[in-house]
């Protein structure tokens, strides 16, 4: 029998209203590199959070057996004490502290009188840096080194805790090719030293390169685990997306009219680092009555594109031309964008979309107060009537429009956001992750609303991480990868496999497109 370092047995984790993990079983052999694949929201991160004690023992069902012992973890500290270390996608380093300080944060090397022995800490840190192949001084501040090197510091930090099982959550998502290669090499080296790794990744090429086996998770369930010899891209993709697409989406008969939005050569750079291209020469069109999707992995530049278009809400050095109804428009501010008939519902309603401490009525009117202005004052009664109409037509479930939006469910909050934008009477609606964090029933309602808007002749641009969603509601889909449009497929030709191929297409080096 195989020597398993880790067995997760029938793990089930429920959040209010959602079963995030259902009877998940994961067996990892000592010394192997295991890849875990799955779409966004499939449950990968939840599973790793259970394993690392972020969700403590008792908040889930099932057992974690690590080195033959059943674990009852209550915090990350517990899991680290056992030798399980997780490195999150968003690095957890403190930018103003040095590398050594970060490595030994909350694990300080103490000398006499319980004071920190900086001499020893720095020299220990230096040894760890050598081990991960990072040529930087241990006293360098984190903010002075790049993301790739920061990732190595995270690994050095893990090594300082005598790690036995290293979990990396999309470790190369933010890295360039050279840094990625280096990191993958390092993981292989650690394997030689007897460290087991679990690597969550979207990038199929790197999985093929380093993984000894792959487990695919979908909808909170393990689909299958493949040994190295069995791994093929097709099989992974099929496992990742292979679900029944029937009846999740309302019927939609497109009646497509004139072109309403055209964007040409749209380019935007990172707001803090203007040399980094985030959106690269994007060209798209949307016609009246058409629902157009943008598919892309996290970090592909989907939201960055939408927000830079919407009144330069994101980015620096933005260039390109935008046409609405064939007329070129200037979109230098959000107010201008709204005036020209654009609307953008953000991917994060709570942070960017709603005033949660205010009521439904005032949230709906927020973007169009001028419409309610009479002799310099906002007409309260009219505002109430308008909000009430939207409450009924959008089926917002709240006792009155005076209910605070912070108390509504995700689906109802999203309906308020949509109402706000409908009231601004746009020509084109950009919907960024319109159903994120919404339960299945409410999703169906949102899709119905989207269809209705298209039928009214609006142009709709949907950004989504969920391929089935795009395939279920769109008429045409663009694939975006590393800031570029890498493919455009009419719905008849769009398949998950085809889209994933375009979405994972690397930035064309010169000559390849």
């Amino acid at each position: 029998m195989a020597d398993n370092i880790l067995e997760m047995r029938s793990i089930t984790k429920t959040f209010p209203g959602v079963k995030a993990l259902q009877d998940v079983t994961l067996e990892v052999e000592r010394g192997e590199i295991r890849a875990i694949c799955g779409e966004n929201g499939a449950g990968k991160s939840t599973l790793m959070k259970v394993l690392s004690g972020v969700y403590p023992h008792g908040t889930y069902d099932g057992d974690i057996v690590f080195e033959g012992e059943v674990l009852e973890l209550h915090s990350i500290r517990d899991s680290e004490a056992k030798g399980i270390v997780i490195i999150h996608q968003e690095l957890a380093l403190s930018p103003h502290l040095s590398i050594a300080e970060n490595i030994f944060l909350n694990n300080e090397i103490k000398g006499r009188f319980g004071l920190i022995d900086w001499q020893r800490a720095n020299s220990e840190a230096q040894k760890l840096l050598d081990r991960v192949g990072l040529r930087e001084k241990a006293t360098t501040k984190i903010m002075d080194i790049g993301v790739g090197k920061q990732q190595l510091v995270e690994i050095a930090k893990a090594l300082s805790k005598e790690v036995k099982l290293l979990i990396l959550d999309e470790p190369t998502a933010a890295l360039n090719d050279a840094d990625s290669d280096h990191l993958l090499e390092l993981i292989l080296q650690l394997k030689q030293q007897g460290i087991t790794s679990i690597i969550i990744s979207h990038k199929l090429n790197e999985i093929e390169k380093i993984a000894d086996s792959v487990t695919v998770i979908r909808d909170g369930k393990t689909i299958e685990t493949m040994a190295k010899a069995e791994i093929t891209e097709d099989r992974i993709i099929k496992d990742m997306v292979g679900r029944d697409l029937e009846h999740r989406y309302p019927d939609h008969t497109p009646s497509i009219g004139e072109e309403v939005l055209r964007v040409e050569d749209w380019t935007a750079h990172h707001p803090q680092d203007p040399t980094r291209v985030m959106v690269d020469n994007v060209n798209i069109t949307v016609r009246r009555g058409e629902i157009v999707g943008i598919a892309g992995l996290m970090g592909a530049g989907r939201t960055e594109f939408a927000m830079s278009l919407f009144g330069r809400s994101y980015g620096s050095r933005i260039s390109g031309r935008a046409f609405i109804n064939g007329k070129e428009v200037k979109l230098h501010s959000v107010a201008e964008a709204i005036e020209n008939g654009l609307a953008y519902a953000t991917e994060d309603r709570k942070v960017y979309g709603l005033n949660l401490i205010d009521d439904i009525k005032r949230n709906i009117s927020m973007a169009s107060l001028r419409k309610l202005e009479k002799r310099g004052l906002v007409n309260d009664g009219e505002e109430f009537t308008v909000a009430n109409e939207y409450r009924k037509s959008m089926n917002i479930k709240a006792p009155t429009v005076l209910s605070k939006t912070g108390k509504l469910s995700g689906g109802n909050q999203q309906k308020v956001v949509l109402s706000k934008w409908l009231y601004s009477d746009p020509e084109v609606l950009i919907l960024d992750e319109p159903t994120r964090g919404i339960d299945v029933g409410a999703k169906y309602e949102i899709y119905t609303i989207i269809n209705r808007l298209a039928a009214q002749g609006k142009g709709i641009l949907v950004i989504s991480s969920e391929l089935p969603e795009l395939l279920g509601i769109c008429d045409r889909i663009y694939a975006l990868s590393e800031g570029r449009i890498t493919g455009e497929l009419p719905i008849a030709e769009a398949t998950p496999e085809a889209l994933i191929k375009y979405m994972t297409m690397e930035a064309p080096a010169e000559g390849r497109s």
Partner: protein, 422 residues
Amino acid sequence: MTNTELRPGGGPTGSEEIGPPQNKVTSAISHVLADLGKNGIFVALVLVVALFAVLTISARGDSILLRPQNISNLIVQNGYILILAIGMVLVIVAGHIDLSVGSVAAFIGAISGVFAVKMDLPWWIAIILSLAIGALVGAWQGFWIAYVGIPAFIVTLAGMLIFRGLALVVLGNSNIGSFPAEYRAIGNGFLEFLPIDLGPRSSIDLVTLGIGLIAIVALVVQQIRTRVGRQKYGQDVEPFGWFIAKLVLIAAAIAFFAYALSAAKGIPVTLIILAVLVLIYSTVANRSVFGRHIYAIGGNRHAAELSGIKTRSVDFWLFVNMGVLAALAGLVFTARLNLAGPKAGDGFELEAISAAFIGGAAVQGGVGTVSGAIIGGLIIGVLNNGMSIMGIGIEWQQAVKGLVLLLAVAFDVFNKRRSGGR
């Protein structure tokens, strides 16, 4: 989501429970309680007044706090803090703070002394120029906050030092005094038209009473119109009995207040200024697009920006406005003392900020009302006044005021947590 069955074409079937139907009495009671909760600050003012009314009962058997002369003083002594509180609450709603208002008030007071006394300009020109300079001061601070992006705390902390310093520079190590009578009136003047003698050392002004009556009628008409308006648009209204009871209570309070003023020296000019400001600013805050934008920004700045609200411009004009109101407060204070001195305005910012917070403004922004800030300011004023009458020393007054501020905000936090608003 234990039920994974999909309902194509149907949408969710489970309709929201809105709660069991209540009978009239329980719904009326719950309405009154909710109303008291919402108007907790008003109830607090009534309690504070009642407490000190009892604590300051004199040997003659009447309450010193409620003597006409004292009520008149209360307004005049707190007018400038209340003016500041109006601007401050808007700044706080937008998620900022202004620590400089005391220094700005001192600076403008000094400048007005130069205009009105040293240069001997007509009083009204001096006032207009002073307010304009207040606007410039606000524009200066607003520029750094809105367009450079420096936190208001820092900018106005710097402003606190800068304008205190400039006040000293303008005064040149001395005081400026002997302002023209018209100028003095804004801090010290009273309007009395038809005093009727009611025996020795006692008279009553009919015009003041008349204005009180007009205020009551205006209030009643306005309240009824609002209620009818809400009903017309199908909004909920409070039970009729409670509505009437509230109106009667408020009308009685105004009547008593008008009587007190008419029996003292008449209507203080400061009160007229204040009344006009409260009317204007309440309307701006509640019903103008600009005011709505302030609340939207304070509630969620990102969402406001992404809704096309020009957040920078709103921030900028808020501070310009604060500058003008700080200038006005400086003028009223200088006029009252008939003296522009280097210590003027000391600590005003803290009283104005306290007033806003006691009046229900939220530290995170997005919440707060002009009327709340005024009532908060009055609570501080009554505390000051009542404790002074009782002969409590300044040291204890400070401590008590600090405690009241803490308790008021704690109460607010507690209330929100209980209602699940987090």
